[in-house]
Amino acid sequence: MKDRNGAAARCGQSGVPRPRRQRHFSFSNLAYWITIVFLFLPLLALFFYSFNRSKGGSWDGFSTIWYEKLIFESPSLWQAFSNSLIIALGSATLATILGGLAAVGTSRYRFAGRAAVRGLAYLPMILPEIVVGVSLLVFFAGIHFRLGMWTILIAHVTFNIPFVYLLVDARLEEFDTSVIEAAHDLGANEMQTLLRVILPMALPGIASGFLAAVTLSLEDFVITFFVSGAGSTTLPLYIYSAIRFGVSPVINALSAVMVMGTILLVYPLRNFLKTFAARA
């Protein structure tokens, strides 16, 4: 509704009625809706099966038994979930501090090695996950570091840094650096400038960097798979072993809950998705 008014207002402004942007039928719209069906069909199937009474494939009547089992009888799943949450928040916080500071440094100052710092910050993003995972595994084995929560945390900070750096850097590029000079001229020291001027201005970039890091960390399977040890199962690792070693419909229920969670998370953000798409 809001959108349509906006479009009408824009048309009105220019005086000339703009041609209708969308026709009733077009090849591209058909392709779009086919893609949407393709993207959602598997998720709907999961949702449907999560209410199946029987353990096997065939439909055997409606039941919420798997949701009850998910909530009350899956302690190891909840342990994995809490591990995932700890790693996600911990690694996102550390990556945001490291990446944010580096972005401030490289966007405000020119110094020898600046290009190298930037290059190094982008590299982990380009490298295939399997290579990052395997190299960390070999590294930890070489220095006899026991695999577990700490190694997962280190790995997640490492792959999160580029995204935080990129997002904060993009934000800092947008605004006028003369404000910072003004702060300095008015007698603010470096600490005051950082906390009172740069931090508030960079906040949107920092927030989106942090959120991207949390999401990436919760999502990661491949790298975590290589650097995890006994007793450090994360949620993706738990789902993986459930898929490999005997599927339980509890995973259906869990998946349905996670899809609903994603929808609830993304829907309020729908008006920002365009900027997100531009940066992806």
């Binding site: 982990p124 380009i126 531009a278």
Partner: protein
Amino acid sequence: MRQRNYGPLYAAPQTAWLLLFFAAPLSIIVAYSFMQKDLYGGAKAVFSLEAYKSLANPAILKVAFRTLWVSLAATAVTLLLALPCGYSIARSRNQPMRLFLIIVPFWTNFLVRCYAWISILGNEGFLNDFLRWIGLTKEPVQFLYNQWAVILVLVYMYLPYAILPLFSTIDKFDFTLLEAARDLGASKFRAIKLVLMPNIRSGIITAVLFTFIPIFGAYAVPLLVGGKDSYMLGNIIADQVTKTKNWPLAASISVTVTLITAIAAMVYLASEKRAEAAAEKEAASIDNSENAGGSL
């Protein structure tokens, strides 16, 4: 007012972290790739090109070509679907809603999406259930654990990676140019080919690389929905590290995959630069002459 250069100080923690936990592990991999295989697994510190020579092993070459074929096929299908999709979202009146529908599956957990396909294509899955129900088959059909399942699921996983950059470049395109081409007598197809396509080139390249690079290093999808005949290079690396313990071989394959990825990324950066330069040139030519007719 003289001001200290705090740049290196700000950048130091991140750089130290990445040197220790990214550059050092990667260097170890490169070093291992030039070492000899140890009898009991791991690597012996003796220089050897054995690991690179064994890349020519027919078994590994076969997987390398399969990886290339699967990546190219999945990237092509993804692009063919993503182009009209991106166009449709860009042209839509309700862009936020259309983006929302693309992003929900995209942000759903990777393994959940894999699992969803397993529960559709599996022997006891939705599709077999349906085929039995309508009486077309009696015995379950094996849809999973082959190359086609791998390509299908890879397309599913990486489709949004292609749609989003395509959407954002098409969205910036000035559609009056397309109308002008139509007014001047071009057919719709010709107008799209000659006017739209060259202008969204950077988006197409981004989309191709965002799908090709991760698919080329794919590990989890072939592991979960592929069989022995659909192993990819990523799976061989993992097997050599965790099962066979031939670290030099795993390292040499990793180095090769990394180099191919790096070349792809450099091609991308070069084309970005060229696109930027072209855009600047175009902007300059518009500034210079009021009637910039030749900017296309």
